[in-house]
């Protein structure tokens, strides 16, 4: 405690405590979290049982203390029992108490904090005592983001030249206050490049730049902005921002093998978002449709696709609670920047969001099931017909399997009741057991559990809870009188006319009661007995636990034995795959549709579904809807929730979106945590501006395009990113992070912008709009990157390396990392080389070609320096060109070795290169050429003697060579391989049979003629088993002195066509910082 370091930190803290505000902040940041985390469980209003009569959640509680006396003496930590306890100095008084022999002592830093806090008077913010069961932080309601939108007046600013529009007044006011100035306006080429990348994610064409520079009219830039906003590429850029937030993926993530892992609906959702941006769909409508299109758009409407926002998340192995959690998260962080899912297990530690709030929303989502529905009119009659056949087959199987399972549920009603006495044997979702037809289905056991829990007044099952409440010892004596208080179905009353002796007997009586009920109710010769009919109807009620819910397999899979579940998924998968693969398929939407209204949800204590707590109504968040909010009344309440989100009185939604739009234009939000506007978020850099923008958005009919126009017309948007040096010194001190925007922040292109820009400048970009996703890393695919396949389970390394948004998570802002793997992509990928090849095919003089490249890639003319550097690069490269690179001496193929003639019968090249190996095709083994493969240092023999693999060296001239190298067959299984060295002129030079052994494959110096081939042949001997081998031949020529090393010169096909010097030059321009950064 007295080490210099800790003294230093205490001094620091004391200084921190000088002002009241600081004290409050210190308490909230450093003290309350510790108390809440480590003490509240036993010593607060929220504790199940307050231990030792001590409460530490109020200052009064601490002063009053518990059974051992006052816990704190303000100003005197050494006298404070709290400190004694947390220091563990007194063996009898150690807090938090050790668990399983291990100390749970607070870290030293936290102890120091508490000491400092008591020393400084143990102050707590005035209104901080949490009421039992309610929010911990009533004061948090005063947080700026939860206040109604203000309508700030535009500040008057003294600089009549600078403000372009109202925004600038807000910006300038802060700059002046900080003693700073804005920068000059950006030049026109920079401005149009910035605006074009910004709005459509592509570079401007050279003609567009020229036209803008030549347009001297005052509205020239506004025209550019309008043109860009009207372009279909605008939606393709801005939809991608939203897809980051919507954790967009074309696949479901990991699913069990029985299920199709591709979504049917994902690309419909993506295209809907693109169209929504292009048509400037008002943002409130945009959100309403994404959350509740099922209740706003008719069946078949293309707008149903919007619900992919909710249904595009991971499958979480089918665990309902996690699927719902993901949906709550994407909605609440996405629209209101509230981290509601923090309240899944406990009240939010910082924000005024309770578990009650969380489970209110949980109930909204729980009360809905997924449906895959076609949208738009069918365009192909044959497709339509086949679709119906397949859909009917699935529906028929589902129906019969539901009935069959329902039959079992009804027959075994007594067993399901008995199972309620040993619920611990039926674990929660996520604990998967293989279930046979003879097993009780845990999901049904739980459904019974939940049903019985809320059946106090149920005319049939009211008996259950009433009797269950009686202590076992008093059961027999009290059961009779309890039963008399109930109002019951006459048959039930009759069955319990004598009191049962135990709950087990209650279960048995119910089983008996239901056993003959179907026959009884269905006796044709008698009018139905209403009491029997009520019992019968219970067995078939869709809400009854004796049925399997009538949903698609995705929502009722847990109610079937394993083999049935697999069967139904297989059928669903067949349908899904068929839709995905049919060229004529209609688009589909995956919607949520309300189920039969369910009872209110209950809070799961500590997030555990097996510990249900109090019941809460389905209703909106208190922080956004106020304390007088009412329960939702319409179905699940999902549409009401959506309306509450977009209600202009909701303080968050407009602010959050205005901030996002600002962020995507400037690279940093006015609030730097765009998806967390909670208490711990940093305050906005320009609070008035944020409110003004939010108000503007609402007043302009929630038009995002009007917000773009406003922002881009401002002088702050149009200023230069290059700060004059006389200003940069001042801003570096006053505003090192450029929050005040004394200059425009430079951007680095995001992955999609970068790839699209490469294709755009070479004029190769395929601008087809919409449709199914494809692999954008494949050389043939030249579509915009937003149409690339996003497979969240197998996201290509290149996506990760370039900071693509993680499709598992709502991503508010991409990270920007710089790693050598990015540079490897620029240097070595076929993608960049192909772009260089595409653009370097230019006619004209050297100077014309250089100028053309600058114009296309960078939209400007080269400087004299740059031209000189280019010319010199091209000139020296030509000097260094060697007539023929020695590595082209190698080729890779397959054929048959003729053991009689000692010759290769025919040499065919291996057609496919993986970047590491030559083989038959992308899959290995290949359907045609099997396992045949050659790598830098070895390979694998083909599947038969006709498919020996052959590494061929062709002599570039007459010379004397020697061959060295060891061939190795490493493994024991199988019978090994045969290796041969064969000359086209001289026949077999050397051979060996290898099995779990090696051989020196050397040939001493001998003469070869120009064009003579030396083949290094491997075949499989007699059977195909473990025929991989290592063999790296090296050929050394004595005169001229050159060597060829199979490994060092191992290359793919492109090496046969290395880049020309102009292509090399073009590649450098693609690699330049100027290409990748936008000023």
């Amino acid at each position: 405690m007295t080490s210099p370091a800790s003294l230093f930190s205490i001094t620091g803290i004391v200084l921190l405590l000088t002002a009241n505000a600081r004290a409050d902040e210190f308490f909230e940041k450093r003290i309350r979290p510790v108390l809440a985390d480590r003490c509240y469980e036993c010593h607060s209003a929220t504790a199940k049982k307050i231990k030792g009569s001590l409460r530490v959640d109020t200052r009064e509680g601490l002063l009053k203390g518990g059974e051992t006396g006052p816990a704190i003496v303000p100003g005197n930590p050494e006298e404070s029992l709290l400190i004694t306890a947390i220091r563990y100095h007194d063996k009898e008084l150690r807090m938090p108490p050790p668990k399983e022999e291990l100390p749970q002592q607070l870290p030293e830093a936290e102890i120091n904090d508490l000491v400092a806090w008591i020393k400084a008077g143990a102050m707590m913010p005035a209104d901080s005592s949490p009421a039992a069961g309610s929010l911990r932080r009533p004061d948090a309601k005063l947080h700026w983001a939860f206040q109604p939108l203000t309508h700030p007046t535009i500040p008057a600013t003294p600089n009549p030249d600078w403000p372009g529009n109202a925004l600038d007044s807000f910006i300038l006011e802060k700059l002046i206050a900080a003693g700073l100035k804005p920068s000059a306006a950006a030049d026109k080429r920079t401005l149009i490049r910035r605006a074009t990348f910004d709005l459509i994610g592509l570079p401007p064409a050279p003609e567009e730049v020229r036209a803008f520079i030549e347009d001297q009219s005052p509205g020239a830039f506004a025209k550019v902005v309008d043109r860009l906003l009207a372009s279909p590429q605008y939606g393709e850029r801005w939809a991608r921002h939203w897809l980051d937030l919507a954790r967009y993926s074309d696949t479901k993530g990991y699913v069990y093998g029985r299920e199709e892992r591709f979504f049917v609906h994902a690309s419909s959702y993506r295209d809907w978002v693109i169209r929504a941006f292009n048509s400037d769909l008002p943002y409130d409508q945009f959100l309403l449709l994404q959350i509740a299109a099922d209740q706003l758009a008719p069946m078949g409407s293309p707008d149903l696709a919007a619900m992919g926002f909710l249904t595009g998340g991971r499958r979480f192995l089918g665990v309902t609670h996690d699927i719902i959690d993901d949906r709550i998260d994407v909605v609440t962080r996405g629209t209101m920047a509230l981290t509601v899912t923090c309240a899944r297990c406990h009240d939010h530690k910082f924000d005024p969001i309770s578990t009650r709030d969380y489970y209110s929303l949980y109930g909204v989502f729980h009360n809905a099931a997924q449906q895959l529905v076609p949208i738009g009119a069918a365009r192909d009659a044959a497709y339509e017909k086949e679709y119906e056949v397949r859909a009917k087959k699935l529906a028929a199987s589902m129906k019969s399997r539901r009935e069959e399972s329902g039959e079992r549920l009804r027959k075994r009603l007594g067993e399901y009741l008995a199972a309620q006495f040993e619920l611990e044997k039926y674990p929660e979702e996520g604990f998967d057991q293989l279930l046979g037809a003879a097993d009780l289905i845990p999901a049904s056991v739980r459904r019974w559990r939940d049903f019985l829990r809320r059946s106090d007044t149920h005319p049939i099952f009211g008996v259950w809870n009433a009797l269950k409440k009686i202590p076992a010892a008093d059961f027999e004596s009290q059961a009779g009188s309890v039963l008399q208080t109930l109002s019951l179905n006459p048959l039930v009353a009759a069955a319990f006319s004598t009191p049962p002796k135990s709950m087990a007997e209650v279960a048995e009586r119910y089983a008996g009661l239901f056993a003959g009920i179907e026959q009884q109710a269905a006796q044709a010769d008698k009018p139905a007995d209403p009491a029997a009919e009520a019992l019968r109807q219970f067995l078939y009620d869709p809400l009854s636990p004796a049925t399997v819910p009538d949903t698609e397999i995705v929502d009722n899979e847990l109610f079937f034995p394993t083999s049935v579940c697999t069967e139904l998924w297989a059928l669903q998968g067949e349908l899904d795959r068929w839709i995905i693969q049919s060229p004529a398929a209609q688009p589909h939407a995956l919607i949520l549709a309300d189920r039969e209204p369910e009872p209110n949800p209950r809070v799961f204590r500590r997030g555990s579904p097996s510990k249900p707590g109090e019941e809460v109504p389905r209703r909106f968040l208190e922080i956004a809807a106020g304390p007088n909010r009412q329960p939702f009344t319409h179905g699940s309440g999902r549409l009401e929730m959506a309306r509450a989100i977009v209600d202009p009185a909701n303080p968050l939604t407009a602010r959050v979106m205005a901030n996002r739009v600002w962020l995507y234009h400037f690279g940093t939000g006015l609030v730097r945590t765009p998806s967390d506007f909670g208490v711990r978020a940093e305050s906005p850099s320009h609070p008035e501006l944020l409110d003004w923008l939010a108000g503007y958005l609402i007043e302009h009919g929630w038009s995002i395009k009007s917000l773009h126009r406003l922002i881009m017309a401002s002088a702050v948007y149009q200023q230069s990113s290059l700060e004059p040096s006389e200003l940069s010194a001042a801003s570096a001190t006053a505003d090192p992070e450029n929050r005040l925007l004394s200059h425009f922040p430079r951007h680095r292109l995001e992955f999609e912008q970068m790839r699209d820009a490469f294709l755009a400048v070479t004029d190769e970009l395929d601008r087809t709009v919409g449709g199914k996703p494809g692999d954008i890393l494949s050389p043939a695919n030249k579509r915009r990157s937003i149409y690339g396949l996003v497979d969240r389970q197998f996201l290509p390394g290149t996506f990760r390396v370039f900071d693509f948004a993680n499709p598992d998570l709502h991503v508010a802002q991409r990270s920007e990392t710089t790693v050598p793997q990015q540079a490897l992509f620029f240097l070595n990928s076929g993608f960049i080389a192909d772009r260089a090849r595409a653009i370097a095919k230019l006619p004209g003089t050297d100077l014309e070609r250089i100028s053309h490249l600058y114009s296309a890639l960078l939209q400007r003319a080269p400087t004299e320096h740059e031209t000189a550097a280019a010319l010199s690069f091209i000139a020296t490269a030509e000097d260094a060109t060697v007539p023929k690179p020695p590595e082209s001496a190698w080729s890779y193929g397959w054929g048959e070795y003729d053991t009689i003639q000692k010759r290769i019968k025919a040499f065919s090249p291996l057609p496919y290169f993986t970047s590491d190996a030559w083989q038959g095709g992308p899959a290995w083994p290949d359907t045609q050429l099997g396992w045949a493969q050659l790598t830098a240092e070895g390979g694998h023999a083909g599947n038969d003697l006709q498919h020996a693999v052959i590494r061929r060296w062709t002599a570039p001239g007459d010379m004397t060579i020697a061959i060295t190298g060891k061939a190795l067959h490493e493994f024991e299984p199988g019978d090994g391989i045969r290796v041969m060295i064969v000359s086209s002129r001289q026949g077999e030079l050397k051979s060996a049979v290898l099995h779990h052994s090696s051989a020196e494959m050397s040939v001493p110096a001998f003469e070869v003629k120009k064009g003579e081939t030396i083949d290094f042949v491997t075949d499989y001997l007699a059977n195909l088993n473990t025929d991989m081998f290592t063999w790296r031949p090296v050929i050394v020529a004595s005169a001229p002195s050159i060597s060829w090393d199979a490994k060092k010169q191992f290359t793919g096909p492109a090496m046969l066509q290395p880049l020309t010097v102009w292509e090399q030059y073009a590649q450098v321009l693609f690699l330049s910082n100027e290409f990748l950064f936008v000023d």
Partner: protein, 473 residues
């Protein structure tokens, strides 16, 4: 620990120059082609630069043998002689629910023996590994949550059974950075393809993508790192291209002196250029002397373990070695033959690695972790007709993991399962406890290695985890 900087890097160039007392000139690129230095602008902007943990670490790097499928603890490191007493009969007491149905007690067909000064009991399956018994601490009281591979793999690798969370390797890389910029800092190898759950096992979750594990299939000799080889330009051509690039970038930067991101990118090309050579070299076990290669053995596990040692030696922070595609240790039936085969493939490489690390003086600074996603039942698994399958079902209630090397007290046993090995009963150790212990060895307080995401500070151990102190030196 704070989050790494978001899109604008932590140090402006100006600030960086002040910190390092360097002038513009010394940031010239040629200087970078020497040894990897940590204090330059690229590293300041580089989220992979080496960093110090919270306190002096015992271990600097980790190698994790992941026996995917769920290795049987009662046949390897947790002897249960009582099973023999009940062979063929039902075990007394309550049966725990697992994924499938199991029947009678199923004694281990393998002999256990005491090894080393410590007398640690190990089965014949790991006789070679057991020669290092006095370096090994076995935690016999591990438990997970559910008897299914997928969630248990996620729990063991990422600390959460279901949600997308960063893997242990990603956390370690985030915390410590890497000591060799020319190689990925977190490498995961699995012969023949992906294990169950694919790349989720080494995901970066909400951490930036650079912390994701880099996957390599050691059976595909040559398949190393994406784009590591140029198919269109040789070394000489690339050198000339980089010279020109440097000149063009310098011109561009002349008026943009305050942006460390520009520097970082310039330098990333120099790093990449070197990486092309170094990475190839690191994976080339042909450079190892014959006796070393023989010690590891010729099987693919020997190769991948030897590659792993070469990587660790070069400063790679976290290497995870999987046994094979799918789940090779999932012995539902005929466990005797299956275990012999699987253990036979890795016993020698593991023993060789421990010997090799020791003789190089690396074991003290390398944390070796061995285990799977859960253990197996001491009772025999039953087939459809209730017939014995001579195998064992999944068992999350109790299993073993062992550690050795940096920070670990060898020859120790922590905790115990019940008499039969069904459930951990003494000093129960959760997966969070294991993670807390791994982080502790690397110098981290697991409660303080956090990352702000979705409004709160997340950590590998969620809200749990206690360091298992009895296995520490």
């Amino acid at each position: 620990m704070r989050n790494p900087p978001d899109r604008h890097n932590p140090f402006s160039r100006r600030e960086f120059l002040q910190r390092c007392g360097m002038g513009m000139g010394s940031l010239g690129l040629a200087g970078l082609l020497g040894s990897p230095g940590l204090s330059n602008a690229a590293d300041a902007a580089n989220s992979l630069a080496a960093r110090l943990p919270h306190f002096a670490p015992k271990a600097k790097r980790v190698i994790h043998f992941f026996l995917n499928g769920g290795p049987s603890h009662v046949d390897t490191f947790d002897p249960k002689p009582a099973l023999a007493k009940y062979a063929g009969q039902s075990l007394p007491g309550e049966y725990l629910r697992t994924e499938r149905k199991t029947g009678a007690a199923f004694p281990s067909p393998f002999k256990f023996q005491r090894y080393g000064q410590s007398g640690l009991e190990v089965s014949e399956l790991f006789a070679k590994t057991a020669e290092h018994a006095d370096d090994i601490a076995v935690i016999r009281s591990m438990y997970a949550q559910v008897p299914n591979h997928e969630p248990s793999l996620m729990l063991m690798n990422c600390g959460d059974s279901v949600q997308a969370r960063p893997s242990v390797g990603a956390w370690v890389l985030y915390g410590l950075g890497t000591e060799n910029q020319n190689l990925p800092g977190f490498i995961t190898m699995c012969p023949g393809g992906y294990p169950v759950k694919d790349a989720e096992n080494w995901q970066s979750g909400f951490l930036p993508g650079v912390y994701q594990g880099t996957f390599i299939d050691p059976q595909q000799t040559g398949k190393l790192i994406e784009n590591i080889v140029s198919p269109h330009a040789g070394e000489a051509v690339q050198k000339r291209q980089l010279d020109l690039l440097r000149a063009l970038n310098a011109e561009h930067q002349r008026t943009r002196i305050d942006d460390s991101r520009l520097d970082a990118r310039i330098q990333s090309f120099e790093l990449a250029f070197r990486m092309q050579m170094d990475a190839t070299d690191a994976f080339d076990i042909g450079k190892e002397p014959q006796p070393i290669r023989e010690m590891y053995g010729t099987h693919v596990h020997g190769r991948q373990t030897l590659i792993a040692r070469r990587l660790l030696e070069r400063g790679v922070r976290f290497v995870q070695l999987w046994h094979g595609a799918g789940q090779p240790w999932d012995h539902h039936e005929n466990i005797e033959a299956g275990l012999r085969a699987q253990a036979g493939q890795i016993d020698q490489p593991i023993a060789a690695l421990l010997t090799d690390l020791k003789q190089r003086g690396m074991l003290d600074e390398t944390l070796v972790v061995w285990g799977g996603e859960f253990g197996r039942t001491p009772t025999v698994e039953l087939g459809d007709a209730g017939k014995s399958k001579l195998g064992r079902d999944h068992n999350p209630y109790g299993f073993s993991v062992w550690m050795a090397g940096g920070g670990i007290k060898g020859g120790t046993v922590h905790g115990a399962t019940d008499e039969f090995g069904f459930r951990a009963v003494e000093k129960r150790a959760s997966v969070h406890d294991l993670h807390a212990t791994i982080l502790h060895c690397l110098g981290f307080d697991h409660e303080k290695l956090t990352y702000r995401h979705a409004g709160r500070d997340f950590r590998l151990t969620d809200v749990e985890g206690e360091v298992i102190r009895s296995v520490l030196v």
